[in-house]
């Protein structure tokens, strides 16, 4: 979803769909589910990282959507409203899952000496994102590294940098302070940068 989608008003054909779904028209409801389930499932997968849990999150989200669509007043775009619901349902399921094989975030943070000077291996060459994005395996490589981050960091990176929620929205969803969101986001990005270094340095096969 692009940022612009969120601020736009309800699409003209959505008004009819919302009314039909709210009025318990089964055919309209099924069309509505088929139209939206794909992107909702993708959002849920990015958060819970498990197909079974992602489907559960989408089912729960649709239950909330159906229960509340009558009161959806078009204050935001329909997709924005549904996006928040599926994110919330996914986060609730994520709290119940235990993912293994994550990395220790502290070990992936930048290192400084006693004078506060950065200790970083010199970059003799750097691949540009444009070049790297042409690799056929780039999505799998990047998502594989994002997956290695511990959930309390990964989720902030996913919500802020991929789902494009604001710091304030993430803070509200996770019930933490905005300052905490910023600290964790920066640490998550720093860790991801370290994990992606072999690729960016052009050292990865």
């Amino acid at each position: 979803m692009q940022k612009g989608d969120r601020s736009s008003a309800t699409e003209p054909d959505e008004g009819e769909a919302i009314a039909a779904v709210a009025n318990a028209d089964p055919a309209a409801a099924e069309r509505f589910v088929r139209k939206h389930a794909g992107w909702m499932l993708a959002v849920a997968m990015r958060i819970v990282r498990d197909a079974h849990h992602a489907e559960d999150a989408v089912q729960n989200a649709f239950a909330k959507v159906f229960d509340n669509i009558g009161g959806f007043g078009g204050r935001s775009a329909l997709k924005t409203w549904m996006h928040r619901i599926v994110v919330n349902e996914s986060l609730m399921l994520l709290r119940k899952t235990n993912r293994s094989q994550t990395v220790a975030i502290d070990e992936l943070q930048p290192v400084f000496d006693n004078n506060g000077c950065r200790i970083e291996d010199r970059w003799m060459s750097m691949e540009t994102p444009e070049t790297l994005l042409m690799r056929s395996d780039i999505q799998a490589q990047v998502n594989g590294k994002i997956d290695l981050l511990p959930d309390n960091y990964r989720i902030i990176l996913v919500l802020r940098d991929i789902e494009e929620l604001s710091t304030q929205e993430v803070a509200q969803l996770l019930e933490i302070s905005e300052a905490n969101v910023k600290v964790r986001l920066h640490r998550a990005r720093a860790a991801l940068k370290r994990l992606l270094e072999p690729l960016i340095r052009g050292q990865a096969v």
């Binding site: 389930a37 794909g38 089912q59 400084f112 990047v142 940098d161 990005r189 270094e197």
Partner: protein
Amino acid sequence: MTQAAPTLMRRIRGMMFKMPLMITCEEFDDFILAYLEDTLSAREKFVFELHLKVCRDCREYLAAYRASLELARKCGKEPDEALPPVPDDLVQAVMEARGR
């Protein structure tokens, strides 16, 4: 394997970073997020960019940080048109739950 800057070089830079309007790499690091979100004050931005001009390590670090961020943003999600078809059993489950 590439090497980090030698200790003596870092010591000299450490002294330089104590001069007026200069910050250490560690302080620079604390500002990266706000710099990329463009929420630094004019003075903070000046100080940040001054450090960037004199510190190769932080220039390289920031470039790699940005590259990594761009990769995450571009690879993190597929465009809606590239999504796989919705599983029928999911649609059925949603519809059945609605009917209950």
